[in-house]
């Protein structure tokens, strides 16, 4: 499985997670880290999509934390 597909899988898991509150923030933080680790392995033309995916996770963390 390539890095982009794995990032998609991680994103889906996070988005459909049933966790709430602090537990949800922890899930999102873990996903942020794991998708971030995949960026160097992603094909150059897919890297922007992975980075935007992670931006979406980051934005959700920012919202959850307020």
């Amino acid at each position: 499985m390539d890095a982009y597909q794995e990032a998609q899988r991680l994103y889906a898991e996070a988005m459909l997670s049933t966790a709430t509150g602090q537990e949800r923030i922890a899930v999102l933080q873990q996903t942020l880290q794991r998708i971030g680790d995949l960026v160097p392995q992603a094909a150059p033309d897919e890297r922007p999509a992975v980075l935007l995916m992670n931006s979406s996770i980051a934005q959700l963390i920012a919202g959850e934390s307020r």
Partner: protein, 388 residues
């Protein structure tokens, strides 16, 4: 500290980086015809993140992944290598996407019929609108800022969401009496939390006019937008499936939107018939709300759509309100012989576990209540600047 990498140093006006990103935002505003909510403060974004919008209206943008790769593409006279050209194109795409995100207002997501910010329906629609904007204008924005030929256009970042939304813009043209572009502009300029409501309001105004008492509006909004919310949020499994080819996501997004449009049109025709019939028989008398029999018809129709999705291989629609247990019992007896079906089943269980009546104190389990077809990510959501 919220677990995000702390934002980095401020990128000051007068630097190339600030001037370039500000130019991207300005061009984005020009093409969109709407102002950005960015307050003008820009910070470096550490980590593997393109950028975010902070609560105070400031923005972060990655120096490593966006600003530095972009620069060669905007340096006059620089002879770009192949890798530099594609890196600059990708960086421009990210910058435009983030700039477009700064144009969206969130609004109050706690009122009747509002879409919770971060719900699946909200993420689907906002992602689709941003994706289409970036693919439409990203190249033109780059052309307006550099002589270099940068490959900004690409396959949609969200093929299912974006194709479905494109299709729905066309389908909703007739009932809203707006062109697809006009309808898209209306949604883009509406707070994210109110975008589905504004479609319903426009349809009520155009198709039903003063035949509808104002007290009926909230319920009619739900009756009209239920199919749209389910149609888009139900694509989440498709969009994020790791086993589905990107082209198949485009096709299913298109097909799902056609089904959604059919359900929307049928429900609208029934609603119009109710008010027209009453008005003919009782001119001048305020009409009653839709009868229970018609609401049961809506639920049957919703159930029918779920069946069609399932038969096409995407049993992604959530259970019909009031009929969840029957649906769940069916899931447990199914056999999933291959990896793809196992993936779908797993994702479906995620949705079930979040939408089952026992998970909500305010669940719309009863047939007469509002279908709970959105997923709230946080239990204590506040207004925020956020973009997906």
């Amino acid at each position: 500290m919220n677990g995000m990498p702390e934002r980095g140093e401020e990128i000051l006006p007068g630097t190339w980086e600030y001037q370039w990103f500000a130019s991207v935002v300005t061009k984005t505003e020009e093409f969109a015809g709407r102002p950005s909510h960015w307050n003008g403060r820009l910070y470096d974004q550490p980590g593997a993140i393109a950028g975010v919008i902070e609560a105070d209206g400031s923005m972060t943008i990655s120096r490593e992944h966006v600003l530095d790769p972009a620069r060669p593409g905007y340096t006059e006279g620089h002879s770009l290598t192949h890798d530099e050209r594609y890196a600059a194109g990708g960086a421009t795409r990210m910058a435009v996407f983030r700039a477009r995100a700064s144009l969206s207002a969130l609004g109050d997501d706690t009122g009747p019929g509002a879409s919770p910010i971060g719900s699946l329906e909200d993420i689907a629609l906002e992602s689709a609108l941003a994706d289409r904007f970036t693919s439409t204008y990203g190249g033109r924005i780059a052309e307006s800022l550099t002589e270099q030929d940068l490959p900004v256009d690409s396959f949609p970042a969200f093929p299912a969401y974006t194709t479905a939304t494109d299709r729905l813009m066309s389908s909703l043209s007739r009932p809203t009496d707006l062109g697809p572009g006009e309808l898209r502009d209306l949604l883009e300029s509406t707070d994210r939390s109110q975008r589905f409501n504004v479609i319903a309001d426009r349809v009520i105004e155009t198709q039903l006019g003063d035949r509808v008492p104002e007290s009926h509006r909230d319920q009619l909004r739900q009756d009209l937008t239920g199919s749209l919310r389910r149609g888009l949020s139900g694509l989440t499994m498709t969009e994020w499936s790791q086993l589905t080819h990107q082209g198949s996501k485009l096709n299913w997004g298109h097909d799902a939107a056609e089904l959604t449009a059919i359900e929307f049109d049928l429900n609208l025709e029934d609603i119009k018939a109710h008010y027209d019939s009453w008005n003919t028989k009782h001119p001048g008398v305020e009409p009653p709300e839709l009868p229970d029999s018609l609401r049961e018809t809506f639920l049957d129709r919703e159930e029918g759509m779920r069946q069609v999705w399932a038969e096409r291989g995407w049993p992604a629609q959530q259970p019909v309100a009031g009929r969840e247990q029957e649906n769940y019992d069916g899931l447990r007896t199914q056999i999933y012989p291959n990896e793809r079906e196992q993936e779908i089943a797993k994702l479906q269980q995620f949705l079930w576990s979040h939408t089952a009546p026992s998970q909500h104190t305010d669940s719309a389990a009863g047939a007469g209540e509002r279908p709970n077809n959105v997923r709230e990510i946080g239990s204590t959501r506040k207004g925020q600047r956020g973009v997906e």
